[in-house]
Subunit: 295 residues, 2 copies
DNA sequence: GATGTCCATAACGAAACATTATCACCGGCA
DNA sequence: TGCCGGTGATAATGTTTCGTTATGGACATC
């Protein structure tokens, strides 16, 4: 069997109440139903989430790791409903643009300026997604176009067109006072002692770019410092002086003063690409490409 | 009835295939089952998601708005399973720290430096959450402490302690060449003509801080430019010169050179707070508070 | 108007899910 | 030691969900 939202709701309630009976009260159902839902959930996952322990319950390691994501899933389902309701109320006409991490901000600014000029008054929504989701949304018309970063152009289904906008050096961000910060260039092996902060988003935004991809391609083993959710936080941790980060060079424009960027000599440039669905017109794309010519 | 993951899977398949039969094939079930699931889903939501249109299907407005979130929900459930499995394999010992948007990066850097010193070698995970989720995770021990920003201290249940770290001016970020960019201070009414870029995350991270909160408290109606997912993108759009953004003043340290910050004179300072669960020790908190004394 | 495609509906069996009643376990306590 | 209150699990049972196959009806194309 598969997991269900019902099961997740039960698990979250039990985890928070530390008590099957109270969880059942909160959910407005009888206690055995909670027991059964949790058993079904554990069976589906093939793991024990809570330790039944005479007096109340205790989360297992797996349960503790599962819990925040279970909450995320429930919250996400609520958001889905709200989004649908908002659309029903006629809140529409938003232009959605996809974005994967690693796109240099100033490059995005150039594009957005162009879009805003082409469609004055439109409400814009820039949505960070995995490349696969961007393609799916382009295909179903939910998204107008997407900007993505990676070493090699993503393979996309025929109707989606890929245009290269830029190719720029990948760099390592270090604290200003770091011994390696004055170097002109660096190579990965020289960074073996560093601890890296990466964008986690729990693999939602897994990309061929960044540390994971580099490690996979070069065999370099990066030590981890922290996982964070966005570039701003990533740079904040580099600013602690305790961590490094791999980022496109031009991100240095948006970094705190005490963070230095050193190009990675042994890495191929990061290519920024524009994806759009050829079937759906996108008259702006001509302009977009004109202003954003490859470096 | 409630919505189910099964229903969401069916809807996504139908939306992507634009065809009930192919969707059924992909899901490995019979076509009527797909029809029924979709009917149940639509009944639960009380909205029409797809228009059955003789030849194939077409998404409604509501369906198009619902679709990306449905995908998010499914992805999130997959992540939950992966997180549980990772914990089963013994990948543990991570220190999780909560963060709500609006916390000045350098303030976070100070804290993280302290944490890293106190627990050398620990894997750190900085997780952006809503304040409610942070409290829930503090309560169940999944999170060690959380840093949050807002005008008023959050109301939290007794065992969770709140300590104020800083109070700093709220500012509006404008392009360097904007007529108002040279002012010493600004007030909200002076910004009535601006279009703002806000952090959306589709209200996951809805906060009393930021535009929504300010508007609610002052009656100011902000015009919208775009909704984005993180501060980096937000600043990139301010750099287009077409949009403003409301941010804590010290975020200017991390902004591109062509973005100027002007303090908002009619807004109370944004307070940064540290939340932790008193029952669970947290010996570091003494140090944290010592180094991060209120400004 | 015959035909094919597509989705909806009907009918029905199996699995899921809820209920109430009861059991088994454990900790405290006289 | 043996009883007790409180915990979660289990049993028995009815309802709903959810899948199946078979069939119907709408709407294109030719």
């Amino acid at each position: 069997m598969d997991i269900s939202l019902k099961g997740l709701r039960c698990f979250v309630a039990v985890a928070e109440e530390r008590h099957f009976g109270r969880a059942a009260d909160r959910l407005g159902i009888a206690q055995p139903a909670v027991s059964q839902q949790l058993q079904r959930l554990e069976a589906a996952l093939d793991m024990t989430l809570v330790r039944r322990d005479g007096r109340g319950v205790l989360l297992t390691e797996a349960g503790a790791a599962f819990l925040p994501h279970a909450r995320d899933t429930l919250e996400s389902s609520r958001l889905a409903i709200r989004a649908g309701e908002a659309a029903m109320r006629g809140e529409t006409g938003t232009v959605t643009i996809g974005l994967t991490p690693g796109v240099p901000p100033h490059r995005l600014a150039d594009l957005m300026r162009q879009v805003a000029v082409a469609r004055p008054g439109a409400r814009l929504r820039v949505r960070e997604t995995r490349i696969e989701d961007a393609c799916a949304q382009l295909a179903d018309g939910t998204m107008r176009f997407a900007v993505t970063s990676g070493f090699t152009p993503p393979s996309v289904s025929p109707p989606i067109e890929v245009a290269e906008l830029a190719a720029e050096p990948l760099a390592v961000a270090l604290h200003r006072d770091h011994p390696l910060a004055r170097r002109e260039t660096l190579t990965l092996p020289e960074l073996a002692a560093e601890r890296f902060t990466t964008i986690a988003r729990d693999a939602i935004r897994e990309q061929p770019f960044g540390l994971h991809g580099m490690c996979r391609r070069t065999g370099f083993r990066a030590r981890k410092f922290a996982e964070v959710d966005d570039v701003t936080t990533q740079l904040a941790l580099v600013a602690t002086g305790l961590s490094a980060a791999a980022l496109p060079l031009s991100m240095s424009r948006d970094a705190p003063a005490d963070v230095t960027f050193v190009p990675l000599a042994d890495q191929e440039p990061l290519r920024t690409m524009l994806l759009h669905d050829r079937r759906r017109g996108l008259p702006e794309v001509g302009d977009l490409l004109r202003i954003a010519t490859p470096v």
